[in-house]
């Protein structure tokens, strides 16, 4: 019987079994950033240990960097302290650091693929729950805690339990105006925020076959929002095409050999899965979250659920809590909710194709009065190419602010924050209470084009109507 990609990669990286039954798993690539690594380096120093495989460790700075001050020291001394600490730790341990002056800095999950560090058939770990993003390349990528960052630094391994694998097939063509972001919001709505606990998600089907790498990354990115620590897509020609010629991709004869090896990691046609879910792409709507978990989403044509409609008492409690926090009425239309802020960016939707798609439609439109709209490229590379293409001018002309690369308002550890109970249309991945920097701030997750539609109308809108898609409401 065949094996899944997950099993093959796991087997190739399993070092040995530990006393408690867990596996000691080799982590081929370790990505680190400024928030979850300093304590780990501290623990290493306390124990007199060194980074074991520095050439497999790569660092960037993303969470705390301001997107509107280019010069250090930053106005926030805590942020300045964190970037300096990372610089010091990388220098002391010979770790490659994509610092702000390299032209390569950006959100860790954008930088890895962009540099060609993220490769099929590898294991990747990062002290960040959105590490599953790298699974888009057919890598097994784990989000880990800081003690595990220490473990990887010191041993290049972690102790883990093997996961089950759920295959999620999405077949067919997405309707116009429906994007990869809608696919993952739909999956989470369907399977719930804890549906993926204990599973790796294998995303497959013709919809994924036809997706670009950036679209695959958007879906894999939010696996954790569905409870799955790992999500991946089998590598194919699209994957190899993307990687070819990237700085850290194999070159020359090594390239041919690598591609052959990568192909062999793809799930075998006759392998079995612990669970299979089938989804029809044609049924997926532009999806918007109305609540405080990523599973609380509805199609743009739908109404927000009512407390009474929820099946169990604990569901009723959750809906009631979400409605109270969001200041929404159960049963009201999702369309028409007045927004204050529009955020385009993050490791979910801060890539070139996201900005290209929006730029195609916003020409001739203006951000509505009273709305602050910001665009934050996911990396310096994305920013540079976008600027070469003139996308920055299109956004600025439409009334958006064009910022420097970072996580920015995805989690607001830098100065970009909501104020009070502002409502934000956001292309990021989490709508938790307080996520965007204000303890009462409100977040609605949606695709980049839906964020743009909200920005120009001042309220949650159907992008297909706002931007004149021929098939809207057909």
């Amino acid at each position: 019987m065949g094996k899944s990609l997950f099993e093959k990669v796991w087997d190739a990286h399993a070092v040995r079994q530990l006393a408690n039954g867990q596996t000691q798993l080799l982590i081929g690539t370790h990505l680190i950033h400024e928030v979850t690594s300093p304590q780990a380096f501290g623990m290493l120093r306390d124990r007199g240990l060194k980074v074991q495989y520095p050439h497999r460790t790569f660092a960037t700075v993303d969470h705390i960097v301001p997107t509107n001050e280019a010069v250090e020291p930053y106005s926030d001394p805590l942020a300045q302290g964190m970037i300096e600490e990372l610089r010091k730790n990388c220098a002391e341990n010979d770790v490659t650091f994509f610092d702000t002056n390299t032209g390569k800095q950006g959100v860790v999950h954008i930088v890895g693929p962009e540099q060609g560090i993220t490769q099929p058939g590898t294991t990747i770990a990062c002290g960040d729950s959105h590490t599953a993003t790298h699974g888009a390349f057919g890598a097994i990528a784990f989000g880990i805690g800081t003690s595990q960052v220490r473990d990887v630094l010191a041993t290049q391994t972690i102790a883990l339990n093997e996961l089950k694998v759920r295959r999620i097939n999405v077949n067919g063509t997405l309707p116009p105006g429906v994007y990869a972001k809608d696919v993952i919001l739909h999956i989470i709505r369907l399977l719930g925020t804890q549906g993926g606990t204990g599973y790796a998600y294998e995303y497959a089907g013709t919809t994924f076959d036809n997706f670009t790498m950036e679209e695959r990354m958007t879906v894999c990115n939010m696996s954790i929002e569905g409870g799955a620590r790992v999500g991946y897509v089998n590598p194919d020609e699209t994957t190899f095409e993307y990687l070819k010629g990237r700085p850290y991709a194999p070159k020359g004869a090594a390239w041919e050999a690598a591609v052959e090896q990568w192909k062999s990691f793809a799930s075998d046609a006759d392998c079995t899965f612990d669970d299979v879910v089938d989804i029809d792409a044609a049924q997926i709507q532009p999806t918007v979250t109305w609540g405080i978990t990523p599973g609380q989403g509805v199609g743009i044509e739908e109404n927000i659920p009512t407390i009474e409609d929820a099946p169990t008492q604990s569901d009723r409690d959750s809906v009631a809590e979400a409605l109270e926090y969001m200041k929404f009425e159960g049963g009201s239309a999702i369309k028409g909710k007045k927004i204050d802020v529009a955020f385009l960016g993050s490791c979910t939707n801060g890539r070139l194709s996201d900005f290209q798609e929006v730029a195609k439609y916003i020409k001739g439109h203006k951000v509505a009065e009273g709305v602050q709209a910001i665009v934050v490229p996911g990396s310096q590379v994305v920013a540079k190419i976008a600027e070469e293409l003139g996308l920055d001018k299109i956004f600025i002309e439409a009334g958006f602010e064009w910022r420097a690369a970072g996580c920015s308002m995805c989690l607001a550890m830098n100065p970009d924050k909501l104020v009070g109970d502002q409502l934000c249309a956001s292309s990021s991945n989490r709508n938790f209470k307080g996520r965007q920097g204000s303890p009462t701030g409100r977040t609605m997750l949606m695709s980049p084009l839906m964020v743009a539609a909200a920005a120009v109308t001042g309220e949650v809108s159907d992008a297909r109507e706002v931007f004149g898609f021929a098939t809207a409401n057909a």
Partner: protein
Amino acid sequence: MPSTPIKQVTGKGVYVPGDDIDTDRIIPARFMKCITFDGLGEYLFHDVRKTESGEDKKHNLNDPRFAEASIIVSGNNFGCGSSREHAPQSILRAGYNAVIAGSFAEIFFGNSTNLGVVCVIASDADRATIAQAIEANPELEITIDVEDHKIWFGDQSVPCEIKPGARDSLLSGNYDPLDELLEGSADVAKTAGALPYMQA
């Protein structure tokens, strides 16, 4: 060097109601601008406890009756969201060493176990019973018996679940895996040697 085995956890309880208590609620990101975990305890559940102007909200976590609690009782999918170890670190540093929930998010569960924070699963009905018992008597002593899969409170007990791997690690005191991982270094080099991308 193994840590002290954890066979039981005993203490008073506090009920933190709600499902999907995410890591941003456990420790808001703005308190993570730090390079050590020291001092994080102070910000545990900050926005759950405080209004925007910094006053205490009405919440069990602010109620002096539960000030001595060291065991948190909560809902389903506790610890969902981020991989930030700042979450269990702040729980530990605020004086709690166990969480009883309906279920746990996976990364949070692993991070907590590595630190020796005991996470056990009990049914909705049993957690409701425990929560009522705490409310009726905040001084009530709760004991989580890791070995026996039981939670004792007063003269009652209910069953609880703990993942077998985590249970073994707690009982043997090997919940911090670093030493065992270090011992495997020769095998690690062998596994790495067989993978082309691992070569320098």
